[in-house]
């Protein structure tokens, strides 16, 4: 019994690491630019296809292709912020919601056209291997993904807390008007935030590729979990999103184990409901950082 529970927790933490990369991106964009990016999942999908083609055409390991998918998505993010998002920023939320939603639909259908609906997988030497400890096992590909995801989250935290640009981003997220008065260029800060969020989505895609299939709708699977994690961990709170993602991974895994394999999400949503009932601002207690 203890072994089963431990195994379920390990499984949950490992997949939670991937949820974290997606949700940190969503919360970063919300915190800084103050818009909800409904297309975040589609950028995970793009990251996966980049890694898939690099692996099949050039034989590059999907984990290493992170060094290509992240910069590519960063640039895409900066361009989207500069040419699209910047135009709809203002007091009215509706155009922003429609814009990112339209972007999501466009990317979905474009990828159906370009890549077809087929499932694509990459096979690496570590895809099917696992470390065994007693009766427990830890899949290699997922462990690598988890470690890299945590490292990237840590790097983002350090960036936000030690560099001028990072501090400017936090300042802009706390109060945009005052930040502008202090000489912070919001357009520059927003572009970097959007780019960084998309780079994280790209990283999630590359890290998923060794053990998950790429297909046009793959982003939808992860973005749902990401939105729950973002709300659970307080909108705009990076640490909150990280912790909430890991918790949700574990809750889902335990739910599948002890409630039923088609009701893993019940536990996750019950957790969300209870949190909102007792702490309406999320587990971060409403503190945005």
């Amino acid at each position: 019994m203890l072994e089963t529970v431990t195994q379920a927790v390990i499984n949950g933490l490992l997949i939670g690491g991937i949820y974290a990369l997606v949700s940190i991106g969503v919360t970063l964009i919300f915190g800084v630019v103050k818009i909800v990016n409904f297309a975040q999942g589609e950028f995970v999908m793009i990251g996966m296809y980049i890694s898939f083609y690099l692996a099949t055409q050039f034989g590059i390991d999907p984990i290493l292709s992170l060094f290509i998918s992240m910069p590519v998505l960063f640039v895409i993010g900066v361009l989207i912020q500069h040419f699209l998002i910047r135009r709809v920023l203002g007091p009215n939320d509706m155009p922003q919601i429609f814009l990112t939603f339209a972007l999501s639909l466009l990317l979905l259908n474009l990828s159906l056209l370009l890549f077809s609906a087929n499932y694509r997988t990459v096979h690496t030497s570590y895809s099917d291997e696992a470390f065994h400890l007693g009766g427990l096992y830890i899949p290699e590909a997922k462990l690598i993904a988890f470690v890299v995801a945590m490292a990237l989250s840590g790097a983002l935290w350090v960036f936000l807390h030690t560099t001028d640009l990072g501090k400017a981003m936090r300042a802009a997220s706390q109060n945009r008007d005052v930040a502008t008065l202090m000489g912070i260029n919001p357009n520059r800060v927003f572009a970097v935030a959007f780019g960084a969020a998309l780079a994280l989505a790209g990283a999630a895609g590359s890290l998923l590729m060794p053990f998950y299939s790429a297909y046009p709708f793959v982003g939808q699977v992860f973005v749902l979990m990401a939105f729950v994690a973002v709300v659970l961990g307080t909108l705009g709170n990076v640490i909150g999103a990280l912790v909430a993602s890991l918790m949700m991974g574990v809750a889902e895994s335990l739910g599948i184990q002890f409630v039923g394999a088609d009701s893993g999400l019940i536990v996750v949503f019950a957790m969300l409901l209870l949190t909102l009932a007792f702490k309406p601002n999320g587990l971060g207690g409403g503190r945005v950082r």
Binding site: N11, M225, A261, G264
Partner: protein, 420 residues
């Protein structure tokens, strides 16, 4: 409009006169007729002009060559072309003066609405003798309805038992869905004398109906089901589910899943180090793409199919030619439809007519036990009043060395079952 195409219109109208199909004896092609035929020709841009030559017999092929099932649909059309070429090279339909078959294929786009309109269009804008299609049961059910109304014979490899209910123009020469479940249960007895089966299935109409079929038949086959668990299709992680399978003490695993989930499941079973015989059923599991996606892990996995390329000499011959053309082995559905094309040819030969009604009569009296038309597990085809092949049965298969080998039942086994 090129000269070529005008000429083909002339030929076509002459053709109509000969068969008495044209009620108004036209001295010259009228403008209306020209427009009708030309628009038909444009609509089927891919139809070779010789398709309109005198005496050719049109066979309709309905397959999804775009959309989510495109890969399979394209393979089906390639196999259908190969079958028609084989028949034509062997001299065509002799009782009709060596008439050649002409394949008119139409894309049903993996979509039920498109299937309805395309089937209708195919029948009304061409003079067809019979139709075959459409791979997915959901699409075939629609096409079959349209064909029944138009009194056009349709022959299909789709396995839904629904296709044998209240239909007179629909023929199903291969095993039915209900037979697949039974075969799958019997296969588990090859693995262990006391099979303990874990059934995991996606919580959709497809998963629920298939797994319930397994559950109902299990006691009669002496198979114990130790775990019966639905899961959400498109999950992110199969580990908790496989954890449960491990805890159930099962020695065989039936996974009713689509490709993506199945890949995750197979990989996780390997990571856990669980020694269990996996049976993935049919459909997406028995196509070359599955092995390409899963790689070496597919070795030893079992499934059920209504046709396999190693069944007999004829099947191997067709497989070799198909492989030369496409690079892949001839998969279940495509192989089956080569046999279906030969069944249509056999019916045409005996009917001595290209009229759909006559072809239907001849098909219902079909009784073959040799040649390409008899390429089916068991080697015999004869239709009962419900359009079902009375000898129809599925074949159990296993992935061995990147190829699909027939392993069950004994009469159809071409390789011994590999035990993991």
């Amino acid at each position: 409009m090129t000269n070529d195409r005008q000429k083909s219109v002339l030929v076509s109208s002459a053709d109509h006169q000969e068969r008495g199909a044209s009620r108004v004896p036209a001295k010259r092609p009228s403008r209306r007729k020209f427009l009708k035929v030309a628009s038909g020709a444009i609509a089927f841009g891919a139809v070779p002009l010789r398709g309109w030559a005198a005496d050719a017999i049109n066979i309709g092929a309905l397959y999804p060559t775009t959309g989510s099932m495109a890969q399979i649909g394209v393979g089906c059309v390639a196999a259908a072309k190969l079958a028609v070429e084989m028949i034509n090279e062997a001299g065509g339909i002799k009782s009709l003066g060596g008439a050649k078959l002409n394949l008119i294929s139409s894309d049903v786009q993996s979509d039920t609405t498109v299937t309805r309109t395309e089937t209708d269009r195919l029948i009304t804008s061409n003079k067809l003798s019979a139709i075959h299609g459409c791979f997915a049961s959901a699409l075939t059910l629609i096409a079959s309805e349209v064909c029944e109304r138009a009194k056009m014979p349709i022959i299909t490899g789709s396995s839904s038992d629904q296709l044998n209910k209240g239909r007179t123009y629909t023929f199903t020469p291969f095993a039915r869905a209900s037979q697949f479940a039974k075969a799958q249960l019997q296969m588990s007895k090859l693995v262990s004398e006391q099979p303990k089966v874990a059934v995991i299935f996606e919580n959709t109409a497809f998963g629920t109906s298939t797994s319930n079929g397994l559950k109902e038949l299990a006691p009669g086959e002496g198979v114990e089901i130790v775990m019966f668990e639905p899961y959400s299709a498109g999950f992110t992680d199969a580990s908790p589910l496989i954890n449960k399978v491990k805890a159930s003490g099962a020695n065989a695993l039936f996974s009713v899943s689509y490709l993506n989930d199945l890949i995750l499941i197979v990989r996780t079973v390997k990571q856990v180090g669980l020694n269990i015989a996996i049976n993935g059923g049919s459909g997406g599991f028995v196509i070359p793409d599955f092995y390409k996606n899963v790689g070496k892990l597919a070795e030893g996995l079992q499934g059920v199919a209504h046709w396999n390329h190693d069944m007999d000499e004829n099947a191997q011959k067709v497989n070799a030619e198909y492989k030369k053309r496409t690079g892949d082995f001839l998969f279940e559905y495509a192989g089956g439809l080569v046999a279906q094309t030969f069944m249509i040819a056999d019916a045409l030969e005996r009917a001595g007519s290209a009229e759909p009604q006559k072809v239907r009569e001849a098909l219902s009296a079909l009784d073959v036990s040799s040649g390409f038309a008899a390429m089916a597990p068991g080697g015999k085809v004869k239709f009962g009043p419900d359009g079902k092949n009375v000898y129809g049965r599925p074949v159990g298969v296993q992935w061995q060395n990147g190829d699909l080998a027939s392993v069950f039942p004994k009469e159809d086994a071409r390789a011994p079952l590999m035990k993991s």
